[in-house]
Symmetry: D2
Amino acid sequence: MQRIFDSFARQSMMTTLGASLAEVASGHVVIEAPILETSQQQHGYGHAALTFAIGDSAAGYASLTMMEEGFEVLTAEMKVNLLAPAAQGPLRAVGRVIKPGRRLIVAQADVFDGDTQIAVLQGTMVPVKVS
Amino acid sequence: MQRIFDSFARQSMMTTLGASLAEVASGHVVIEAPILETSQQQHGYGHAALTFAIGDSAAGYASLTMMEEGFEVLTAEMKVNLLAPAAQGPLRAVGRVIKPGRRLIVAQADVFDGDTQIAVLQGTMVPVKVS
Amino acid sequence: MQRIFDSFARQSMMTTLGASLAEVASGHVVIEAPILETSQQQHGYGHAALTFAIGDSAAGYASLTMMEEGFEVLTAEMKVNLLAPAAQGPLRAVGRVIKPGRRLIVAQADVFDGDTQIAVLQGTMVPVKVS
Amino acid sequence: MQRIFDSFARQSMMTTLGASLAEVASGHVVIEAPILETSQQQHGYGHAALTFAIGDSAAGYASLTMMEEGFEVLTAEMKVNLLAPAAQGPLRAVGRVIKPGRRLIVAQADVFDGDTQIAVLQGTMVPVKVS
């Protein structure tokens, strides 16, 4: 699973958001992030883009755990339903693979703020061969 | 339209991403952002969360232009289809209202990297009364 | 839960598709449907609209179980990811409420063809007062 | 464009819904359907599955017009935002291709009931080689 950590470390956006990989297992990835002063919307809550960023990445890296070496995954599409404000932090995004595949992978993620679920995401990843 | 600029200025996430309001008209908002070194994914392209952030915000602020004073809007749900990598920047998100409403507003956004369309977004905003 | 059965019985589309309510509990509804000769796409598989119809309805009626009397729910938006063809039937859609609410309800559904999961749906319902 | 008409004619679901192909051009397909007594929800409006069916099919066939011979397209995912009830009919779904591609096609559709737009759809099609 070292390649998951390597790829994550190269995403400067994750560093900007203060996000970290908390769990990596086959088809299951957890990403955590605080609500930094630099990640907020107009009322001081965590920005929807923060919730999207860690939910999408958790779904994407969960998908990558199921790909053979030499591939990466890209998000083709992702939908987020926001359930509650990101009020406290740290946020915790739990990604899982619903349907693995060679052409398309369908994945979901749940995002929590403490015990409160604040978002559900559902989307499609595409494998891309890397040289 | 001053309240749009005021609200935008209070979103620290927009500052973090280097985003700015380029156009504000009734039902139409354009947001621009460069691909900062701090906004990238693992290959140096703009992160999907950057594209989402400006597309979602363009759709949201386009919705806010059509609300009476004393209301804000929150994203209830948003879906993004990514069409091409965010390679050069600056990115340009064009938001528009499809269906205004007192309970729900449906809005879309197109995101461009130069002449290349890199994303389409479609989602639902909810008005929230502010004190 | 009688109102769920009454409402379902008035949906002529459900009759057209041969669909039936298999389980109704708080926040949980299961709808089953065969793949009729009149519900197919060009290769004889069940049409995506059949899968959507029972998935969306299972999510909607699961939401209705959590509303007080005098309300109905309407689908505001729904997204379906199709995972596998609807090949055999009967199909089985399992709907559940993720987040109840007075203004918006977020619900999901899984659709199965035998043991194979063929779709996941995620969407938003809005309560509507009925006279 | 004969193959579009041939494929459409083989979809028994389209016959069941009374749907017909009204326009077929490169990247553009229009499908019309009445609100049959057999296509309704509990209040006599057109069922959301009817709106989905013709919107998804218009987007799919618009995509097929841009594929070379020997391919079909399948819906990988589709999202619909419902804007207004399907009250009168006939309904008219206008599908268009946003981004063609060999692996994925992104398409949208607008659905109208007379002059009223009742839905927007956005989704992903995948080409499938047929023998």
